[in-house]
Symmetry: C2
Subunit: 299 residues, 2 copies
Amino acid sequence: MPSNHPHQRHNGPYIAVDWGTTNRRAYLLDAAHNCVDSFEDDHGVLAVPVDGFPNAVAAIRQRLGQHPVLLGGMVGSNRGWVSVPYVAAPTQLTQLAAAIHWLDAQDIGIVPGISLSGNDRADVMRGEEIQAFGAVAAGLAASSGTICLPGTHAKWVTMDDGSLSTFQTAMTGEVFALLKSHSILSSDMQGPIAANAHFAAGVSAVLAGGNLLSLFFGVRARSVLGLGSDGAAFASGVLIGSDVRAGAALAGAAPITLVGRPALCELYAVALALAGRPASVVDGGDAFRAGIRAVLEAL
Amino acid sequence: MPSNHPHQRHNGPYIAVDWGTTNRRAYLLDAAHNCVDSFEDDHGVLAVPVDGFPNAVAAIRQRLGQHPVLLGGMVGSNRGWVSVPYVAAPTQLTQLAAAIHWLDAQDIGIVPGISLSGNDRADVMRGEEIQAFGAVAAGLAASSGTICLPGTHAKWVTMDDGSLSTFQTAMTGEVFALLKSHSILSSDMQGPIAANAHFAAGVSAVLAGGNLLSLFFGVRARSVLGLGSDGAAFASGVLIGSDVRAGAALAGAAPITLVGRPALCELYAVALALAGRPASVVDGGDAFRAGIRAVLEAL
């Protein structure tokens, strides 16, 4: 860890970017960590040429100001700017901060992801760790508890006295997208998703012990037999129900906090309530900014 | 049911076709039901123009002889030749035979599929019912027991004293294909599938209570972390393990017979053995021909 990087000397404004695979969200923070400007676009990692990251950051600075920049997410993967080695779980905020990869005369930092291996399980995350630490640092999630970050690859993170002790990923969002775009259910899954009775039926069927692979085909069978159904909401309920069933088992009696986009968190909150597990909801952007602040303060 | 259809008058050779979505298998049987010629090709239902079925059958007859023809499978669906109404389960062989849809001066028959609806579950099958009844009629499966027909949409059929009482479909093969062709796991799933240690690890992880959506992502995590793995075999084990876990629970203590392609049945047999449920294996073509014979004899 460099001892003279700008974030240690610098008390002025800074830029934080949550740079994912398909989207990115950039924030301008003032010296007191208040968000004074932001934008979101679809210039995710896959939309940037392999050697295009210096220019992409220059463009962000042109828009938000010539300030130090801290980046998190897939920008630190082997398809991003620099492949930053994972920090192994369990880990604390200070270890994550110490492992930041500094670039450009130490004026740009990339926060590493976290990995898990050993026993018979392997797992990885990039970006969600910032939100998890941030939710705890801001007092929005318990320092010992479970944080669920829904999405394409949903994460269930176990925080233990402020440390990130373990986590588990579920391909919930991606499997939904596969079924919707490419499966025999596609034409039955084009409707909107809402926390309606069809969604609840899907969740309840899984919580009652139903088999995902059979519940999926039920969407097709109802359609073929003219029994109708809201296939998108039902399939979403089945998948989120499965995720919640496994995640709630991991959480045990610990409090559960949902962190992410409000609409998606709301679906998870409904599913968790059906599983008898009320959960609080934190906006993912708030958690990310709080996490970047916490990382800076841990340097 | 016509009282004068040729199969009642006719004691000569006949043609039986198992006509699925993407493939078909045609057999020429002699008067004693011995198979004397056959072929298999990719002229499944989707490869035949909507009005092309009369010509397609004429071509089959040109190849196998001008004999009466009995068709089963998706050829009787709304994308096939004629949409033949499903027979509702529970049902017996005589009911299935009585519901055959006769065409072309009653010289061509299409065997209907079977549906299930009511309670909170709906399901459909077209083609597998012939194999299930056939396996029982030929003494290859117990008249009271469970028959598993693996495939794109795997079927678990409950036979009760020779009747087909209920069944459950699982989208096992289709979800495998989705993951292999379109998911983030694609590049890790291009290897061959075999009943090796990776396959067994996938089966065992599910039987131990693992969550499919997380086990899928484990393939990605191991790859990213350079831990290697046979992703195709592991994911196949996870999916077949899930199917077997649910199917074995349905079967209870009843004997289980696998009916289908030998290589695929072998994977299921290995997974069932890991679940403590030995199963016998019957070739799907043998079961289909036995089923067509049984249907004819039940007219």
